[in-house]
């Protein structure tokens, strides 16, 4: 796992656990790989370099995640579940950018956007550079991908799992 992947994984695990009380498992198992797409959210950013961060959930977690975040026993309405995933993307992005781009650099992060269909994820595949991690969770997995334009990760990342 590259340094950028390690920072992305660390920020993602911390955010899921601290905000959503959804805990990371030690390793990706077969059920994590086969879990169906549930939804995704993205945030864009600009600064010393620009790009976007996308988080894709696989499994059945979004309702529980949102309920935990809001302190409710039952999953909130679907729109609020989408907003909750967007906030997770926002927090991961805000945490990881200074670690990748420098702690004194200023990045501006846009409002989160929910992505309903998995084919929308492919539209970002031609960006200049990307790094992805897969976070194994209790009831599925989260793929977190950081895309950047006109900038290269120093240690040429690939795709990594926990």
């Amino acid at each position: 796992m590259s340094k950028v992947q390690a920072e992305l994984m660390s920020s993602a695990v911390m955010t899921f656990e601290d905000m959503g009380f959804v805990f990371a498992m030690p390793e990706l198992e077969e059920e994590h790989h086969t879990a169906p797409f549930e939804g995704a959210a993205e945030v864009g950013f600009s600064g010393p370099f620009s790009g976007r961060l996308i988080i894709s959930l696989y499994g059945q977690m979004m309702g529980e995640l949102a309920a935990n975040m809001m302190g409710e026993d039952e999953p909130p309405p679907v729109q609020q579940q989408h907003d909750a995933l967007g906030e997770i993307a926002n927090v991961i992005c805000g945490n990881v950018l200074p670690k990748v781009g420098g702690s004194r650099e200023i990045f501006y992060i846009s409002a989160p956007r929910y992505i309903e269909q998995p084919n929308e994820l492919d539209q970002h595949a031609d960006n200049d550079s990307s790094v992805q991690v897969s976070v194994p969770l209790d009831d599925g997995r989260a793929d977190v991908t950081l895309f950047v334009k006109d900038w290269r990760f120093e240690d040429d990342p690939g795709t990594g799992g926990r």
């Binding site: 911390m14 955010t15 601290d18 905000m19 009380f21 949102a66 935990n68 975040m69 809001m70 302190g71 909130p76 609020q80 907003d83 909750a84 967007g86 906030e87 926002n90 927090v91 992005c93 805000g94 945490n95 950018l97 200074p98 670690k99 702690s103 004194r104 650099e105 200023i106 990045f107 501006y108 992060i109 846009s110 409002a111």
Partner: protein, 145 residues
């Protein structure tokens, strides 16, 4: 500020989910709370401040219509509320930007945050140290924030 008073708090964030999270965390912090007001951007927040007595504002930075930074500037320019304690609750991690906000007299809490961090920061910025009695305090548990 009286060290033993229930705090009237304004929470400004464009995300309903995040406002709910912050309010839930406030309730778990053990601080004695009065009225909790909500606003979804800086402009709405200023309107709440015009119409209500507020002891503390918890403000996000990146919001539509009016950002948290602009709201803080307007608060500091208004003689009636210029000394309002403000805590920025944000994903912002840039040391440069955090220092800029601190120069405007705002404290800073980074997302994600815990009830303990929120309580410590609010206590520091308001001087209020009282906590709810045990009968009225929510206890932290595994699935609570």
């Amino acid at each position: 500020m009286d060290q033993h008073m229930a705090l009237n708090i304004l929470v400004v964030d464009d995300s309903l989910v995040m406002r709910t999270m912050i309010i839930k965390t406030l309730r778990l912090s053990g601080l004695e709370l009065g009225e909790i007001y909500q606003a979804s951007n800086g402009q709405e927040g200023l309107r709440v401040l015009e119409d209500n007595w507020v002891d503390l504002a918890l403000v996000d930075i990146n919001m539509p219509v009016m950002s948290g930074e602009e709201m803080i500037d307007k608060v500091r320019q208004d003689p009636g509320i210029s000394d309002l304690p403000v805590v920025v609750v944000s994903t912002e991690s840039s040391e440069t930007r955090i220092e800029m906000l601190q120069k405007k007299g705002a404290e800073f809490v980074h997302k994600p945050f815990t009830p303990e961090i929120l309580r410590e920061t609010i206590t520091g910025v308001t001087g209020v140290t009282n906590e709810q009695g045990s009968s009225g305090t929510d206890e932290f548990s595994g699935n609570d924030f």
